[in-house]
């Protein structure tokens, strides 16, 4: 795949200015299961990459390796030219630059919505409490949940919780945002409000890696679609190309199953 040569260049010389996330030759096993097989993927600054594929294809795992919530067995991952360090203070610093939105929201259950969005700013970025609150309220307004600021996460709907989670990640001014199936745990009528917030973010030029089953979002917001199956990247293409004219049989099979009903 073309990613290899780009990676090589990134390793040898100074990284190309707009390669933000570079995975090269990444392998990972869960016991006997080879979940990620020789993954090469380069994400440019400002790019929106949507990762799709059948369940168990390794796409969530791929997403989680980028901020090292999952460790890898071999290969290399670099963010903004810096290789991912071992667990510790340096990794924590790097994670602060990588926003993550989870399938199950994972809002801090014992903190109010506002505290959820200010906590990282205050404890990690050492921001002043007042400035952090101001910023949090701006972000909460932006994703349309400003009026819920003083409630606890459990008092919000799933869609609202996920939008708070997006605001919480944005509050750290991340260089890249990872979305790990952000709408899969939502009731159907709440999916759109979350996708709209994500679409807005994409329009604003945020670099995004989105693992999702929402083909509509892939079509409308992605610069590139990455199709994964059985731990491998099977196909990479623009959304138009991928959805209208998939090259691999695996992708054709996948699309025929999800698009025809």
């Amino acid at each position: 795949m073309s990613g290899v040569s780009v990676t090589k260049a990134a390793d040898d010389a100074a990284p190309a200015a707009d390669d933000l996330v570079v995975l090269s030759n990444v392998n990972k096993h869960f016991g006997a299961l080879h979940v990620l097989q020789d993954i090469d993927l380069t994400i440019a600054r400002g790019e929106v990459v949507v990762v799709i594929g059948p369940s168990g294809s390794g796409k969530s795992t791929l997403c989680r390796t980028i901020n090292r919530l999952e460790t890898i067995d071999s290969g290399a991952i670099a963010i903004d030219g810096k290789p991912l360090p071992q667990e510790g203070k340096e990794l924590a610093r790097l994670r602060a630059d990588v926003g993550m939105v989870f399938q199950s929201f994972n809002l801090f259950a014992h903190k109010t919505v506002l505290e959820n969005v200010t906590l990282g700013q205050i404890k990690v970025r050492k921001a002043d409490k007042k400035a952090a609150e101001e910023k949090a309220r701006t972000l909460l307004d932006r994703v349309g949940v400003g009026s819920q600021a003083d409630k606890y996460p459990a008092q919000l709907s799933g869609g609202q919780q996920q939008r708070v989670a997006i605001a919480r990640a944005l509050a750290m001014d991340p260089k890249v945002m990872l979305f790990d199936e952000p709408t899969s745990a939502l009731d159907p009528e709440m999916i759109n409000e979350v996708l709209e917030a994500m679409q807005q973010l994409a329009r604003d030029g945020m670099t995004m890696v989105v693992v999702t089953h929402e083909m509509g979002f892939a079509r409308s917001a992605a610069n590139r679609v990455v199709f994964m199956a059985d731990g491998k990247i099977v196909e990479e293409a623009t959304p138009d190309q991928f959805f209208s004219n998939p090259r691999s049989d695996r992708a054709k099979d996948f699309l025929s199953k999800i698009l025809h009903h």
Partner: protein, 215 residues
């Protein structure tokens, strides 16, 4: 009745001794227990090993044996400057910390993994994640077992009496040596323990109710 009224100062001193020793040991056990629980869930293998060794050692050693170690081994190694009360505090505190550690650790495991993942993905360090996100949410499940642990500690502190620390159970020996009838002495001592243990369970019930509301 007469035994109690005639020897009120002894009973009072014993009661205060037990309360102070229990409270101090509980505090020490709490601090050590939480730190050890942190070690046991830490990503650093040597810390995990240390925490596990600590629990294994202090949970599986009879308390009386720990008292003997505090009385005869500790002075031989660290010098003889320690008074009996401090030695009793160390034996009780270290012993109880192993149980506190396991209660806290079981509480930690009830907090969904996603909470810690979210904290780490925001750039929090391991200790920030534990202090700010995981432990506060574990508190609710840890409170009921802690109540039992501290009640057991109260009763365990009676062993200190046999090592000439002034506390409730020692009063019994003091008075029965003087020839007073044993049954009423035991009755009053038992009632005094009941006052302390009931206070602890009441306090923890209150705490439980507070935490339920506060989420």
């Amino acid at each position: 009745m007469n035994v109690l009224l005639d020897h009120l100062p002894e009973f009072r001193d014993g009661f205060i001794g037990t309360v102070l020793l229990t409270a101090a040991s509980a505090l020490l056990a709490m601090v050590l227990g939480v730190v050890m629980a942190g070690f046991r869930v830490s990503p650093v293998p040597p810390l995990r090993f240390f925490g596990a060794a600590w629990v294994t050692l202090f949970r599986n050693t009879p308390l009386t044996l720990l008292f003997l170690v505090a009385w005869f081994v500790v002075p031989a190694v660290f010098g003889t400057g320690m008074n009996p009360w401090t030695k009793a505090l160390l034996a009780l505190g270290f012993y109880t910390s192993a149980f506190v550690c396991e209660a806290v650790r079981s509480g930690v495991s009830t907090v969904p993994l996603g909470q810690a993942e979210a904290a780490r993905s925001l750039g929090m360090t391991f200790s920030q994640t534990l202090r700010l996100i995981v432990l506060p949410q574990a508190t609710r499940t840890v409170v009921p077992p802690l109540s039992s642990i501290f009640i057991a500690l109260t009763k365990n502190s009676a062993i200190a009496g046999a090592f000439s620390v002034t506390e409730l159970f020692g009063v019994q020996k003091l008075l029965s040596d003087k020839g007073f009838a044993i049954a009423p002495i035991f009755l009053w001592v038992a009632l005094a323990y009941l006052v302390i243990t009931f206070s602890i369970s009441g306090l923890f019930r209150l705490l439980e109710r507070r935490l339920e509301v506060a989420r």
